[in-house]
Symmetry: C2
Subunit: 260 residues, 2 copies
Amino acid sequence: MRWGRYTADGNETYGLIEGDTLADVEGSPFGQWTRTGATRELAETRLLAPVMPRTFYAAGLNYAEHVMAVANERGETPSLPEAADIGYRAINSISGPGDAIVIPADAGEEIQYEAELVAVIGRQAKHLTAENCLDCVLGYTIGNDVSERGWQRRDRTLWRAKNTDTFAPMGPWIETAFDLASAETVVRLNGRETIRFPTASTIFSLADFLVRMTRYVTLYPGDVIWLGTEGKSENMKAGDVCEIEITGIGTLSNPVVREG
Amino acid sequence: MRWGRYTADGNETYGLIEGDTLADVEGSPFGQWTRTGATRELAETRLLAPVMPRTFYAAGLNYAEHVMAVANERGETPSLPEAADIGYRAINSISGPGDAIVIPADAGEEIQYEAELVAVIGRQAKHLTAENCLDCVLGYTIGNDVSERGWQRRDRTLWRAKNTDTFAPMGPWIETAFDLASAETVVRLNGRETIRFPTASTIFSLADFLVRMTRYVTLYPGDVIWLGTEGKSENMKAGDVCEIEITGIGTLSNPVVREG
């Protein structure tokens, strides 16, 4: 099942994506819902980020080659994280599929994509176990954790390096039937493939995070957990289009512009 | 003007606190509102956290003696932050005035309060200037940035050290007419004063944060900015009551319990 979010009659609403068609729904995937019977053309509908979370969790370092790449760039000795310690991001940074990634005028040249699998929480949960933890997950979408590497190296926190407005495109929709084990994450910059990796090759699994987080933290419907990226990214510049595909989910595509 | 948030007829609503009385309002301080004419006794109304923010910003290190205390505890050389770089917290950690601070069963003994002034954003804002930046602030409340120091020292992020459920009590209300220059922050543990400091003696002012943040980040109505704490805190244990007073706002009081 694929859930898309869009604006209809001035209200944000959810619908079911079925091939080229979007079936209108009353309610939402986070509660009761019924089909209204109305449908619309997917190609003519501007999809929004599939959810505005209550809390935007982000795993940060969660793929081994990315940990190495980050350490190399900083001239540090790489060390893998020892526990599934989650981080946080700001809601303002979220934008939707097709929305422009807007580079601030005073940003440097090292504006890089990070292709991430995103888990969307469907129901309130605490004290999850390894056996039941995935039951609270509604589905999966794709995130581009856009990063300004100069700010990332120099600032005391990641605030503008990763949380500038438009630096967290998310979408295109929530896929509820996703086979993580067989999935690949692929990045294409202007149509050229720049990286491909097994989506599941994380240091900590989603289950590791869910079990550890919910010993202390209540998850709520709509919360998102971004699960990190692999490898070393390339720079993006104004005029580029960055596409992130996760097989079995779809493709998140965003153009890049720079503030005048 | 003092805005309180509470539950009436099953709905969360705002009212105006006037002495011992709460005047019901239709609407909210973040938009249009009118008095309904109904009133209730403040003493008989359970106030909630005065806002559930879209993004929960936190300044972190923003008072010089606290920076020294944190560095000393870690055996590091203290260095003051050089720029107003903001951080983020998780919404799940927020609770209201009077709500219990619940220490997880496996937490250590170093559970400490941090008394913080909180600015509540009233309207959407970007690219603020030093001259106009405070216009977007609706008012001020009080936050207790409860911290488990062992986890704070050892974990890769602050996730459970500061974002465990109930570790961010906020309230008791939003005061719109607050004179920061003359305000003092006072902490009392079981009625005994443990620290008192001038609320305004921050390294970076709220204006510094607002101007720097909004070069990159859009602020939204209901966002909160926690402005840091001063000095060294004491441990709290089950059975304690922690009160934080900021003169001109009020007192945030929370009992402490430990999970069985």
